[in-house]
């Protein structure tokens, strides 16, 4: 039975929360059970943000994760904070253009993608989060690209729909990195 | 070479948790400089509000008390009445002071309570993510006025200094801003005078400080300074409303 527990973490402003939301939305469109829970509160002011996403064929108990099957990180403090929550055999996907450190855990698979750099090359660093999501999709199959695109259409206000092809491009760059 | 500018002693040597460019930090330093200059760190008790600066008790070297939302003037009254020889100040945002805390500030003022209030007006609720404050400008977009503040629905911006100036118990009232060096220096002068008025036992003193909230205004710190200047200054007239010439 498919059951993915994903933590996405980084600085505020990196699209951490919205990446999680897109993921959950796509999962829901695939008729899976999903939950999304942001970190909230004044620490946002401090600059960090994270969210917990569960996508499962089973019903979801707590939306709070005490462990994760996948961790996506976009800054160093988040890597340090969350790497130990990844289950053995799990995945860490990190933005290597922002994080100079590697997780030392040997029981997990780590993917390092210079996502911010790649996005910047695309002309917009805000796609970095999508690039990392691409890797997640490629490695876990938690959702399909089609659902992701459908989700985007639902979540994005009409006026931003012209950006969807770029977003898909970013996703695919991540998948293929 | 002599040090001509450094962190005042009354400000603790710890990083502040505020957003980049948030002028709360400037206010903290100005207060601390005044405490240093008056030599009252050991005899001052500060009262922290609920707002982005809820834990500014971590930043001041004097004794500090955290008050419930809006009630800092009442808490300060309790402290000041118990410690008639000490100096007490409250630090309050516009939501804290001008919304939920309206009764407490009006009555501390009319009682002539010997406290000093530092009132940071950033025209928004910073802490809770950008809702309308009583001081929000007309047409300003906030999370609770998504179509802009409209006078007929949400009322008018409240002018705290002007309102409190009608109360006999107030000894010193001044509105200042932080948008440039000259105004920052004026702000400090006003803060100093406000403390001096308290030390001289003259009654209630308050300094309203026009400030920025880059994060919730959706602007970068430089744009925010400009926005303050262009939008807040015309609505909130700077200057002294009471006690300019008070001997202290």
């Amino acid at each position: 039975m498919m059951h993915q527990e994903i933590i996405i973490a980084g600085f505020g402003g990196q699209g951490i929360l919205s990446a999680g939301r897109l993921l959950a939305y796509a999962g829901m469109l695939e008729k899976k059970n999903v939950s999304w829970l942001p970190s909230y509160g004044p620490e946002i002011r401090g600059g960090t943000a994270n969210c917990h996403v569960i996508i499962s064929e089973d019903t979801i108990g707590s939306p709070i994760l005490n462990s994760a099957t996948t961790l996506i990180v976009m800054n160093k403090p988040s890597l340090e904070k969350f790497e130990n929550l990844v289950v053995s055999g799990g995945i860490i996907i990190s933005d290597s253009s922002l994080i100079d450190k590697k997780s030392e855990r040997k029981d997990i698979t780590t993917y390092e993608i210079p996502a911010t750099k790649m996005a910047s090359d695309m002309g917009n660093t805000t796609y970095a989060n999508i690039i990392l999501l691409g890797k997640l999709i490629a490695k876990t199959g938690v959702i399909s690209v089609e659902s992701f695109e459908q989700g985007l259409k639902k979540v994005l206000p009409q006026k931003y729909h012209h950006m969807i092809p770029e977003e898909i491009k970013a996703l695919e760059m991540g998948m293929n990195y | 070479m002599a040090t001509v500018f450094k962190k005042p002693h009354a400000l603790r040597d710890v990083p502040l948790h505020y957003c980049p460019g948030c002028t709360h930090g400037i206010v903290h330093r100005l207060i601390s400089e005044v405490i240093d200059e008056l030599g009252i760190e050991g005899s001052t008790i500060g009262v922290s509000p609920v707002g982005c600066t809820y834990n500014n008790y971590l930043y001041f070297n004097c004794d500090m008390v955290q008050a419930s939302h809006g009630r800092a003037p009442a808490v300060a009254t309790g402290i000041r009445r118990a410690l008639p020889d000490k100096t007490v100040f409250t630090y309050q945002g516009d939501g804290d002071l001008a919304a939920i805390g309206t009764a407490e500030i009006v009555h501390a003022a009319t009682r002539g309570e010997k406290i000093t209030t530092i009132f940071v007006n950033n025209a928004i609720y910073g802490m809770t993510s950008g809702q309308m404050a009583p001081t929000t400008l007309l047409n300003q977009v906030t999370t609770t006025t998504p179509y802009g503040r409209k006078a007929d629905l949400h009322g008018f911006p409240i002018h705290v200094c002007e309102m409190l100036a009608t109360l006999e118990g107030t000894a010193f009232i001044e509105r200042v801003s932080l948008h440039d060096i000259k105004n920052i220096n004026n702000a400090k002068k006003a803060i100093k005078k406000a403390f001096e008025v308290q030390l001289a036992g003259k009654g209630f003193s308050i300094v309203e400080i026009l400030s920025t909230c880059p994060s919730n205004w959706g602007l970068n710190p430089l744009e925010a300074m400009k926005w303050l200047q262009e939008n807040m200054l015309p609505v909130y007239q700077l200057g002294n409303f009471k006690g300019k010439d008070l001997e202290v």
Partner: protein
């Protein structure tokens, strides 16, 4: 049923209220429930409704009182410290027998506490944080879908009984997104409100809404009327989910988001051959006493799990009335108990 949407709990509360015919919202910002207000601020002007940010929680609850007097459906929302400030107003709403919906998305206390989720306001909600003998109907949803359904229901119940009805959730529930499926049409029950003060139009005697009478006989008769109503509600409106209880070695009592966690614990326990049940009170008041009575004779032990230092556990003990041991496990300060902790506690109770 419409399509599934992914929405935040807080937003769903607001949307559900609007669907239930609520066009009047008065509130004051506080984390972690602010999105209720943000949503209302966006939607109400579009549908001819009223969103008003009050100057304080005290003002907000009194605006609710005023609007309720006119017979409209009205709501406020806040979180723990803000709800404390509303206690006088809540007692007035009870005394004047006004229908109103009050949402408390609990955070950690006491005092300013923290903004992370907690369930430390159970006593306040259920026993009476305000003065005098009164009750609120208290609904405790455990999912975003249920937040929707119970919010709609809250308005119906409030009108039916002329009672303050509270939605008691916690920060997790308010902040999380989950799928929600709205009905095409809501079951809005309309009750005659000939008591409302909406102008006599010179066609009837004036209506009065008050909660004071200096004649103790009259005031007692009002109190007896309230108690009578509470009895009716206790008889008719208890809601509870019993899950896996038959033949359980131990039954956990938990509400709201903790109950979700317990459901996972039940699965974990099953794998270890331990049969655990769950009684999830959906109405905290009236409390599902019968469910506990029913199982008290046959179950070895009860465990109450809360994000508190132990509050609902008292109602569990009252219901079980000494017939079986009742243990407690709780976390505070914004910490959410983990599945493992709860399982460990269960095992230690059962000596396994």
């Amino acid at each position: 049923m419409g399509e599934k949407l992914l929405m935040k709990g807080n937003e769903v509360i607001a949307e559900a209220a609007i669907r239930a015919g609520c066009r009047h919202y008065f509130g004051y910002p506080i984390t972690p429930q602010t999105e209720v207000a943000h949503y209302m601020a966006k939607r109400m002007p579009k549908i001819g409704g009223v969103f008003l940010q009050a100057e304080s929680e005290v003002a907000a609850i009194n605006m609710v009182y005023g609007a309720a007097c006119t017979g409209v459906r009205v709501m406020t929302s806040s979180s723990s410290p803000g709800i404390s400030l509303k206690q006088e107003g809540i007692s007035y709403i009870a005394g004047a027998e006004l229908p109103a919906v009050i949402v408390n998305i609990m955070r950690a206390g006491p005092g300013l506490g923290g903004i992370l989720p907690a369930q430390g306001d159970y006593f306040q909600a259920v026993k009476g944080g305000g003065h005098g003998d009164f009750k609120m109907l208290v609904l405790a949803p455990c999912s975003v879908q249920e937040l929707y359904e119970l919010t709609v229901e809250a308005f119906n119940l409030a009108d039916k009984y002329r009672i303050g009805t509270m939605i008691l959730g916690d920060g997790t529930l308010g902040q999380m997104m989950e799928a929600v499926e709205f009905k095409d049409e809501e079951n809005i029950v309309h009750y005659e409100k000939n008591w409302a003060t909406n102008g006599t139009n010179m066609e009837r005697d004036h209506n009065i809404i008050t909660s004071i009478d200096t004649n103790p006989e009259i005031l007692e008769s009002w109190n007896l009327r309230l108690q009578d109503k509470y009895k009716q509600i206790t008889e008719n409106e208890v809601r509870v989910e019993e899950y896996n209880c038959d033949g359980a070695d131990l039954i956990v009592a938990a509400y709201g988001s903790v109950a979700r966690i317990v459901k996972n614990v039940i699965k974990m326990a099953q794998k270890e051959g331990i049969k655990v049940g769950l009684i999830r009170p959906i109405t905290l008041w009236p409390f599902p006493v019968n469910s506990f009575e029913k199982y008290a004779e046959v179950t070895k032990a009860f465990l109450t799990v809360e994000m508190s230092a132990g509050q609902m556990v008292e109602d569990v003990r009252l219901a079980v009335n000494g017939k079986a041991p009742v243990s407690f496990y709780g976390r505070t300060g914004g910490i959410i108990p983990t599945q493992q902790e709860i399982l460990d506690k269960i095992k230690s109770i059962l000596n396994r």
